[in-house]
């Protein structure tokens, strides 16, 4: 048991300083020692901002505060964590791999209208094309009857002219 934890300590020490200090300030539940209540053992940093990667509304003033880490520094940390295989220890951030993949799927080709639940608006003539062709088709189906009737009634007595 001691050997295993010793190995983990060695692995943790092998991490870059940036990552180590971040994990020390914001330790995820996964790396807390067994038998410790995650609610009571929060660091001071965690009490101030549960997720330093997201903007936070101040509980008293109600003002929005920027994330403690800028998006650039978040991306740096995520890249660093990914190369060392500890990405899942970081809190939620839009820079995480799975979030980026999710976004990629949602947005599709980045062309407006190709993502999930999006529609290509198209030009007006494209939107009305189906209805127009249907109207034409019905008129053509009715055409022999119309011509027959027109010939029967005669030019002189015909009264149904289009508007």
């Amino acid at each position: 048991m001691a050997a295993v934890s010793q190995k983990h300590v060695q692995l943790a020490l092998a991490l870059p300083t940036k990552l180590r200090s971040f994990l020390a300030r914001y330790p995820p539940v996964a790396i807390l020692p067994a038998g410790v209540d995650p609610e009571t053992s929060k660091t001071g940093y965690q009490q101030d901002t549960p997720n330093p990667f997201l903007p936070m509304k101040h509980p008293v003033t109600g003002k929005w505060h920027d994330p403690k880490y800028s998006l650039r520094r978040q991306a740096d940390l995520v890249k660093l964590a990914r190369t060392h295989g500890v990405e899942e220890l970081l809190p939620f951030t839009p820079k995480k791999t799975e979030e980026r993949l999710r976004k990629r799927v949602e947005l599709g080709l980045r062309v407006k209208g190709t993502g999930v639940d999006q529609k290509v608006k198209g030009h007006k003539h494209e939107r009305t094309l189906v209805a127009k062709m249907e109207k034409r088709r019905e008129a053509m189906l009715e055409m022999p009857n119309l011509i027959r009737e027109w010939k029967k009634v005669g030019k002189r007595n015909w009264t149904k002219f289009p508007k």
Partner: protein, 61 residues
């Protein structure tokens, strides 16, 4: 001032009954019957009935 005399002939528009919006324009005497013709509609490439369109408003053509 006297009103301008109406012309003897008028220009009429014969609309395709195939609802394609295609039309021919003809002149006919004002007093004649409204026109109707079997003519070619290039949009559906067939001969269809063309009927004179009713005049809108007071516009004198």
């Amino acid at each position: 001032m006297a009103k301008k005399a109406k012309s003897r002939t008028i220009i009429v528009r014969l609309l395709s009954m195939a609802k394609t919006g295609y039309f021919y324009t003809f002149t006919r005497p004002r007093v004649a019957q409204p026109m109707g013709l079997l003519k070619y509609d290039p949009i559906i490439r067939r001969k269809v009935l063309f009927l004179e369109q009713k005049k809108k408003g007071k516009a004198v053509i």
